[in-house]
């Protein structure tokens, strides 16, 4: 590694300062505020919150429903991944499953709730088809469906990835050794995947536990932590100190889960070599798994179908004639187009700046000899742990009195920090695979260190950088939990606008805005995938 510390520090120090100001300071503030009362620093806020039966009930509810979601999601995600890797399903069908299951990632979670209401509610499409209410949608059932749809893509990606790196030759070996179906399945699939399955469970749990969009739309009277926190902070009688306490309490199970995740990581088998093998013919297996996967997929699509249909009908479900009126109205409303532009601006800025920061942090950690460079890993652990709502709330507490309040800058910074971990790890992974002598070579050929990074390291990371950009963009576009405490009338984003429109029951606008987010994300995703593929041809 080249020894040009001054140039490296020029990047290192501002990044550290950035995280000091927008991660450590706000969290410290949150912590302090949770102890602050009219008569000094003490535990009375905690006592108030812990003795509030309603709040405690909401914690219990959150844990219960998130746990159940995690079980269902993990099982379903396993079925899907198994269908893809261990059956001889028709290949195009596998592609459809693989791509289709990821669609919810392109939408804000608050939209899920409205789609569920419009599908299963009193006037919903699916209710109409069946001729009666299948079940009460507000509250537990609606939340469960929403959470499962929300967490399924992430859990699937995790399990699917592990399947990819699993040595399937062991399936054959186990057969040759005379194992029965069950034993073979347990030994060659479940055991090697146990760490990942545990990981998928924990991940789904954290995601549902900390999500705000779904309970905000379909939660009904079933109260969960996220909605309680929102009410305490922004309800009729805001109480910032109690809000801080709830946020801290929300952090506890998440911190615990992250430790669990790190532990489960160790359970994973690491195959150094893996081989693809021809799977045995087994019609029963294929039909069984194929139909389950298709059912999951169709179930998911049918929930979202309404979003694509309702806005084109005059007055769903009463007048089903086709119309473009709602679209024209929405696009003519300067209010809604302004909100869309805001979202686009925030997502673009987050993607550009976030990618820059995450990439620089990874370069510092992987490709320099700087002392203290592993502080980047600590930061990434922390950003991975802090839920968006907690981060947003801590910003609210810290910046409420300052001129930062109500700016786009603060929203963008919140997103950059909130979604830092994944892009950072992507960059780290790709940078650590590159030849360690490139920087030295660049310097010997007359470039400065920073120019070598620009001329050599960056072009060779192009594909990863595009992936990081796309991740930041899409997540900033759909997040609501991170920004709900930070938006003001001037900085409203699409996701928070949807929450507002809910009060006026303007479902057509809600769906049209959701479609806008969806297609924007889809285009960005397709473009990024396209450019990424081109990069790979090098």
């Amino acid at each position: 590694m080249p020894d040009v510390k001054p140039a490296m520090r020029v990047i290192y120090i501002p990044i550290l300062l950035l995280f000091a100001a927008f991660l450590f300071l706000p969290l410290g503030m949150l912590f302090v505020r949770s102890f602050e009362t009219a008569d000094g620093i003490n535990l009375s806020n905690y006592l108030t919150v812990l003795s509030n039966a309603e709040l405690m009930k909401s914690f219990e509810n959150s844990v219960k429903i998130s746990g159940l979601t995690a079980v269902i999601t993990t099982v379903l995600a396993f079925f899907l991944a198994y269908s893809i890797h261990c059956t001889r399903l028709y290949r195009p069908l596998k592609s459809v499953i693989k791509t289709g299951i990821l669609i919810p990632m392109l939408l804000p979670t608050i939209t899920f709730g409205f789609a569920i209401i419009y599908s299963f509610g009193n006037q919903g499409i699916i209710t109409k088809i069946f001729g009666r209410n299948l079940f009460d949608i507000y509250g537990f059932n609606g939340l469960l469906i929403g959470y499962v749809i929300y967490t399924l893509p992430s859990a699937f990606l995790l399990i699917n990835n592990s399947f990819k790196y699993m040595d399937k030759k062991f399936i054959i070996v186990s057969k040759l050794m005379g194992d029965g179906t069950i034993r073979s399945f347990l030994n060659t699939i479940i055991r090697p995947l146990s760490g990942t399955l545990g990981g998928a469970f924990v991940l789904s749990f954290i995601l549902s536990f900390t999500d705000f969009g779904i309970p905000a739309s379909v939660g009904g009277t079933y109260s969960v932590v996220a909605t309680q926190l929102y009410q305490v902070m922004l309800g009729s009688i805001p109480d910032f100190n109690n809000g801080a306490v709830i946020a801290i309490l929300m952090l506890i199970p998440v911190v615990f889960s992250v430790f669990l995740l790190n532990y489960l990581e160790k359970l994973n088998f690491h195959y150094d070599k893996f081989s693809d093998i021809e799977l045995t013919q087994h019609k029963g297996r294929d039909i069984c798994f194929g139909s389950i996967s298709l059912l999951v997929l169709i179930g998911m699509f049918s929930v979202f179908a309404v979003m694509f249909i309702a806005p084109f009908l005059t007055s769903f479900p009463y007048d089903l004639s086709f119309t473009l009126k709602h679209f024209i109205d929405t696009f003519q409303s300067s209010d809604l187009t302004a909100v869309y532009k805001n979202s686009l601006f925030v997502a673009l800025m987050t993607a550009v700046l976030g990618t820059f920061i995450a990439f620089s942090s990874a370069v510092l950690n992987v490709r320099t000899p700087l002392k203290g460079k592993s502080s980047m890993d600590v930061i990434s652990m922390l950003t991975n742990t802090v839920p968006g709502m907690v981060l947003g709330l801590s910003y609210l507490l810290l910046f409420n009195g300052s001129s930062w309040k109500g700016t786009f800058a603060i929203i963008i910074l919140c997103n950059m920090v909130h979604f830092f971990t994944t892009p950072y790890l992507m960059a780290k992974n790709s940078l650590s695979k590159m030849n360690p002598a490139w920087e030295i070579t660049g310097i010997l050929l007359g470039d400065s260190w920073i120019r070598t990074i620009y001329r050599v390291i960056l072009p060779n990371s192009a594909s990863t950088v595009i992936e990081m950009f796309s991740y930041y963009f899409i997540n900033s576009m759909v997040t609501i939990s991170g920004i709900i405490f930070l938006v003001t009338a001037q900085t409203t984003l699409v996701a928070s606008k949807i929450k507002e429109l809910q009060h006026f029951a303007k479902f057509n606008e809600i769906f049209i805005l959701s479609l806008l987010i969806f297609f924007t994300n889809l285009i960005v995703k397709l473009l990024c995938d396209h450019y990424q593929k081109r990069q790979f041809k090098h």
């Binding site: 080249p2 030849n435 072009p459 060779n460 090098h538």
Partner: protein
């Protein structure tokens, strides 16, 4: 002339090189020969300026370079794995450094290097499309256009197969002659060292065992290490070849 005076190097308190004294004349090819972990790469990196020293002096043409940073020393290295940039093609790799040395190499000179290394047919190829030997020649060309005052090569032959090895050996020799370039080569193969260099520096456990011409090393081994480890290997090789071809080739 490159002079190393009393060079010592420790990593975390552990001595890796100890009181190295050495003089290399301009245009000489010198091999650094020694077993794994003996400090060859470390010495090469010290000359390059990549690794600092704890003690001693590096003097090049009467200038003390000990505290001169790597990029200002004017030496250059070809790494064992070539460190070519995969996003650029062969030609773009070769001219990578030219924009930083405007005017130092003319078009004709550039073409001369390319011709000399027989790279013309490969210029448009991506790095992944080049064979090992071709990659190495590109890497050498990229280094030569920077007109280094000393060319350093870390195990240039170890990644190549037999036939290519011989031709690259010849090539390195002729580069040094043609461009009067002081060349220092790391190797752990005695045969390689003795057949391609003017002088050989045998290092063992961070100390110089012997420094001399191939003839001196063969005829007057300085100590048991040189006899046991260096000459022994050559004798075994010779033995094997006798056995294969029979006495008549002796």
């Amino acid at each position: 002339m490159l002079k190393l005076q009393n060079i010592s190097k420790q990593f975390d308190g552990k001595s890796v090189l100890d009181h190295i004294n050495l003089e290399i004349k301009t245009g000489e090819i010198v091999s650094l020969l020694g077993p794994s972990g003996s400090g060859k790469t470390t010495l090469l990196h010290i000359i390059l300026g990549l690794t600092g020293i704890n003690h001693g002096k590096i003097i090049f043409n009467d200038t003390d370079l000990s505290n001169v940073p790597m990029k200002d020393r004017g030496f250059n290295i070809v790494f064992q794995d070539y460190a070519l940039f995969p996003h650029l093609n062969a030609y773009e790799n070769i001219v990578y450094g030219l924009r930083n040395r405007k005017g130092s190499v003319s078009k004709e000179e550039l073409q001369e290097y390319i011709d000399f290394l027989e790279l013309t047919p490969h210029l448009k190829k991506r790095i992944s499309e080049l064979s090992g030997g071709q990659k190495q020649r590109v890497s050498i060309a990229r280094t030569l256009v920077m007109k280094p005052k000393i060319l350093l090569l870390d195990e240039p032959l170890s990644a190549l197969d037999g036939v290519i090895k011989e031709s690259i050996k010849e090539r390195i020799k002729s580069i040094a002659r043609e461009f009067k370039l002081t060349t220092i080569i790391v190797t752990h193969d005695p045969e390689e060292a003795l057949t391609m260099s003017d002088k050989i520096l045998i290092i063992n456990q961070g100390n110089i065992s012997q420094f001399g011409s191939p003839q001196e090393i063969i005829n007057q081994p300085a100590n048991d290490f040189v006899k046991e480890f260096i000459l022994k290997q050559l004798e075994i090789k010779r033995e094997n070849i006798y056995n294969l071809f029979g006495e008549k080739y002796a």
